[in-house]
Subunit: 197 residues, 2 copies
């Protein structure tokens, strides 16, 4: 700790994604000129974040307890599990309201060039769950990137000789998408994945 409390805060804020030094300065002064409860609240929330946030021992989701709110909810369909790379992806799917099964968070994606190999993902845990919980279907909702696709293929391979069906979320035009401005790969997938109306 140096003698410049504002400068220290600005330097830390500038490490956040999308926050440059200018924004960090603006935020720091805003907090300084606000009610002290905002600063103390943020201080406490950040300071205790890693103590208070636990990974769900079943699915890897973040939460305040040993089991996350999804795994605790008896109304969720335990036979369908959506596999995501990161917790924010799970949050996005929950926000859509389109999925009533449970989740499994890999906390990463296969990326051999970055040294992330199958053993770094929580796949043994997923295999154990598949057996213990009688999972019927794994909906792989990893991103539509090279790493996300590779991870989906890897999971399909792992569960190839089991009763578990591995499915992949659809790829195609986004809602409201204009054909004129859509990239070739997406257009190709939208065409290949066409369905009877």
């Amino acid at each position: 700790m140096t003698g410049d409390p504002i400068g220290e805060l600005v330097a830390l804020l500038a490490r956040l994604p999308g926050v440059g030094e200018r924004t960090a300065t603006r935020l720091a002064f805003y907090v300084l000129e606000s009610e002290p409860t905002l600063a103390s609240g943020l201080g406490e929330a950040f300071g205790e974040l890693h103590h208070r946030v636990k990974r769900c021992r079943t699915c890897g989701n973040f939460g305040a307890d040993e089991l996350c709110h999804v795994c605790r909810d008896p109304r969720r369909d335990a036979s369908v599990v959506c596999v995501v790379a990161r917790v924010p992806d799970l949050v996005a799917i929950e926000r859509s309201g389109a999925f009533r099964g449970r989740y499994h968070v890999l906390h990463g994606l296969l990326a051999p060039l970055d040294g992330i190999h199958p053993e770094h993902l929580h796949v043994e845990a997923l295999e154990a769950r598949a057996e213990a919980e009688g999972i019927r279907e794994l909906v792989v909702a990893t991103p539509l990137t090279v790493e996300g696709e590779a991870t989906a293929l890897y999971l399909a391979d792992v569960f190839a000789d089991t009763q578990v069906e591995v499915t992949r979320i659809a790829s195609g035009m986004p809602h409201g998408g204009e054909l004129e401005f859509t990239d070739q790969v997406t257009l190709g997938r939208a065409l290949a994945g066409r369905k009877k109306v």
Copy 2:
């Protein structure tokens, strides 16, 4: 404190200017997935902000000590004082490197409709400084808004019968400004304030 540490952090972050719930969520997860030192650093920096940051007893600038770094610096010209509304304005002027005098921070602007009257600004302190420090010139660098202009006029009035000259920063086209896209008031001021080349 409730049972949702991430939600609490998101709610606090979303109170910052320019940060919506979506950005707040992204920032919270970023910190959660980063080295715990980032969260603990932010926790400490926010938590101790109001304890560690003091207002300079002379000029009102923020700093870690009784006197700010500008007021402590003997190379600064004490006879010219730049009057600003807020500390971020002081920081912006320091960044420009164009001013070698000292400062006076009003911590506000005249805004009678919002109940901010002359007695809420630190003007008596400025009058006392003018006498004690032998101030020759007050450069009023309040914003070019209705409140900023009113405050400048008020200060000119307060110091009208003294030896202190009250000046106002120039108003005109910003650096790189295109005439086509400049508002009428600015253009009018730029023309009225023209100088011999």
